[in-house]
Symmetry: C2
Subunit: 213 residues, 2 copies
DNA sequence: GGATTTGACTTACACTGTAAGTTTACCTTA
DNA sequence: TAAGGTAAACTTACAGTGTAAGTCAAATCC
């Protein structure tokens, strides 16, 4: 660790954020990991916020856009699944991407690539803009919600068993029923990105067909 | 303001959060507004986090579920639109709702009501669970993204005019095209919740029809 | 009226981001 | 090689954060 660099800082910051979340990424904390004092970081980033912007760029760059020519539905689907995988690798990122404006090259390339798929599929540019926005709203929202729940079905089962007794079945019948199904194993309780994603895409396809006729 | 109470604290905290965001809601700040010192608040809430949980509950309680019996599609649609309006009134809330687990009565009632609409529409409980999750993922994600952009078309136009010159049209053709359309007024650039919502619902309807046949 | 509980208070600690100013070390040019 | 310039580290300081711990007065209850 002879000398600092933006790349080195970003790499270590990414490690910390992935492990401890954005709130665990303090300038002093990060500096310590780099064998340096906090203020030295300000030679490379104007503020903590701009550092986080750089982290978001780094993450967006990981999302892969389909290269070979696909049906627009398959293309968008594949893109969303890639975004999903990347966002799950970086648990802090979905909220950051939703709530901050990023105009870095990775983000622009990501948007451009998505628009291109839709336009190639016969949509106008404003329509492609709506489609991109709708898909990402769903993907970001889904990931963020999923991250707050236990991942393993087993943990889910335990959590359900723990909390369910306190919930009156008379006022919340369906909710409690679901809880019982999760506890007895007849329903895993886990959600998949594909469920809503395929509904969205199916709706879009219908929308396009209806307009053509 | 003779005496503190959870209701009074929540009311003022809600004002602050709505105006300055969650990061503007500090215990000292909040206490000052209540003519009290910070530590007095801890007589009513164990921590800042539990206070925020209470705020979320308060917000969820504002969401209205359709009362009269509607088609399940219309019922879910109406519910999502209500949630959307409420979340826009409380700009900090969408992220909070996505990222924290809330088991208060308002939240449970909200979920239960949503499940009930879907089940009444012929879906199984696990399916209703998936539907609820998909819709809320989209709504939360949409609101959060929308809140970071300028609201007025005019501001959007100005922002586009300001940033577009720096973006090379050769590498981002569709993106730049969209920018031009926003600047010249042929495309407002604004998104609507309904676009993706109706796609989702249409996809769900198809899904159900296909299964029935 | 005395005991008990409630709800406010003060103080203190370990953090946070970052503005401002200083020193060290290297690199370039004479 | 010596000198000058600059880049990149440093220290110090400030105003803020959440909250643990202990104190003290007033209201409530037996």
């Amino acid at each position: 660790m002879s000398r600092l660099s933006t790349e080195k800082i970003i790499a270590v910051a990414l490690e910390i954020a992935d492990r401890d979340g954005l709130e665990g990424l303090s300038m002093r904390n990060l500096a310590t990991q780099l064998n340096v004092k906090a203020m030295s970081l300000y030679n490379y980033f104007n503020s903590r916020e701009t550092l986080i912007d750089a982290l978001v760029e780094k993450v967006v760059a990981e999302i892969v856009l389909p290269t070979q020519m696909l049906d627009w539905v398959d293309g968008l689907r594949q893109r969303c699944l890639s975004a999903y995988q990347v966002l799950k690798k970086h648990p802090w990122a979905s909220v950051a991407m939703m709530s901050r404006i990023n105009t870095g090259p990775a983000m622009l390339g990501y948007i451009e690539g998505t628009l291109a798929i839709a336009v190639a599929g016969g949509w106008s540019e404003p329509e492609a803009d709506h489609i991109w926005n709708a898909l990402d709203s769903y993907v970001y929202g889904f990931v963020t919600q999923e991250l707050k729940f236990p991942v393993e079905p087993q943990e889910y089962q335990q959590a359900a068993a723990q909390y369910l007794p306190e919930i009156p079945a008379s006022t919340y019948p369906h909710f409690v029923n679901l809880g019982h199904q999760i506890i007895d194993g007849s329903y895993h309780g886990l959600h998949t990105l594909e469920f809503g994603l395929d509904c969205l895409l199916e709706g879009l396809r219908r929308h396009q067909q209806q307009r053509a006729s």
